[in-house]
Symmetry: C2
């Protein structure tokens, strides 16, 4: 299962009760935090995100609306007694900033914070069940998109067959990962007798803050769900270009060229109080599109 939950969908200024950018990507039992604008820890509490399950945080770039909430979240994790490691993937200068903030507060975190500076396009996390890669996008300062992929999705248990062969439900989690079951009397039940093929691995790409840039197409090719920013409606293409942002139609074009299944748009400018025009316009180009709304979870 791959899905993304939106914690903040607004651009630079908080407005109309919309918050700066933050998302939680759920991949089976793993949670990944993508960007962390001011107030993210409050949004996580509001939407009951279990921060103890977050092991990796990804920060696209160092404009404040994408990371000013990070130090508060890290500090709170420490105050709550977190002990397990946290991996932070972000532009290099963020490390200096966090080190300074902890130093002046005379604070030592009770957990290890591993800092991984973003440097080149390519794989940045590879585990048994998932992989994350990063890619450069076109913004006013160095900025990165991220692609999340299931490496090996779990097989599906066939409960009728499992019961027929006497496999207890406590073993179902292991069946999903292709283990055979051995009965008390030593008989081996082959996994494929009681499970179905795993579904196709799923993927999600977050293209961060960016100009319309066709080099992104290759990076997000064929994903099940693509998030692309749409700071402006289509009539403000010039302003979007000048400020290194995109419009609804441009996001739709990238989705179309990349052959993604579904498009999610966000990072709405504070000049817009209502958002329905965004939905209408993006669907003119790419019908299977949705507005990224706060508190909503979008499956891939």
């Amino acid at each position: 299962m791959l899905a993304v939950t939106i914690l903040g969908n607004n651009s630079a200024l908080p407005a109309f009760d919309r918050h700066p950018t933050s998302q939680v990507v759920t991949l089976d039992e793993h949670l990944f935090l993508v960007d962390c604008g001011e107030g993210t820890q409050m949004q996580m509490a509001k939407y009951r995100i279990r921060r103890s399950r977050i092991h990796h945080v990804f920060i696209s770039h160092l404009h404040g609306d994408h990371y000013f909430g990070l130090i508060g979240l890290i500090t709170s994790m420490g105050l709550l007694g977190r002990e397990h490691d946290l991996h932070l993937h972000a532009p290099a200068p963020l490390k200096e900033m966090i080190d300074l903030q902890l130093k002046v507060a005379d604070t030592a975190l009770p957990f290890t914070l591993h800092f991984h500076p973003l440097a080149e396009d390519g794989l940045i996390v590879k585990e048994e069940k998932f992989a994350v890669s990063c890619f450069k996008v076109s913004h006013r300062i160095p900025c990165w998109g991220f692609r999340f992929e299931q490496v090996k999705p779990p097989r599906r248990v066939n409960p009728a067959k499992a019961i027929e062969y006497g496999v207890p439900s406590s073993f179902y989690d292991r069946l999903k990962w292709a283990e055979n079951y051995t009965t008390r009397d030593g008989k081996v039940i082959a996994n494929e007798l009681v499970t179905l093929e795993a579904p196709k691995p799923q993927s999600y790409a977050y293209s961060a803050d960016t100009l319309y840039d066709e080099r992104i197409v290759d990076k997000v090719k064929g994903v099940d769900l693509l998030y692309h920013e749409t700071t402006y409606l289509k009539d403000l293409g010039d302003r979007a270009a000048k400020r290194f942002h995109s419009t609804t139609h441009q996001a739709g074009q990238i989705a179309l060229k990349a052959g993604v299944s579904r498009l999610l748009i966000g990072h709405f400018s504070s000049k817009y109080e209502v958002l329905h025009e965004f939905e209408k316009e993006v669907r003119e180009v790419f019908p299977n599109s949705e507005l990224a709304l706060e508190g909503v979870t979008y499956p891939a």
Copy 2:
């Protein structure tokens, strides 16, 4: 008029919809921001605080719950096109942090940010109508309290007399500041004929995060309104001491010894979901006490 509006009344962790520390002190037409925890700019929007009227910000110390919202507020002021100067009074390392955050974002503020490092007890702002001084308190890292005082409160206009002597209401603001009125035919109306004595100058002290420390008594002596932290109830005196915080009874003792008129308590630990015991306990020592509640304005 001197009053304080509470934007955040909780200690380190946001919890139960209580926010980290921030207050706005109103002194006649001037607004002062005191501490600025994460989310302060959202709280200001919620409670309709006009940030354009803030010219001075005071940060007590560099624990995150007192300043993590500052960079977001400053950045937003810039995005909204603020042009007039902002004065920031804070521990010295905050300047390096803000400079770094603006540099990596490639952001130049459209207004001048004057940084005034806190160094010694004493006067830090002196204008015609008000003065602000700072004083050291006892916390785990360097920490400062602030005292706000009216220097010369406005006289009160006597409308019946003003009408009798033919002073137009458009001149009332100048009457308050002791000007005489000259009629069209050159007759001078002495100010004291149409105004009443100014009330006694008012004062407010914010004693920040601190241990029970009787050296504070002198610094806050006789103020109309004292804010003193009460992170814990009276039964947790040992924990309060260990963490450089105070209890309800300790705050009451300081108020009593300093002979203040009214006491406001806040910075409640996240271990307490409800706060009524705080009110009950502090009034056992100092009856004229109030809980600092978010969104509420307390006149001095």
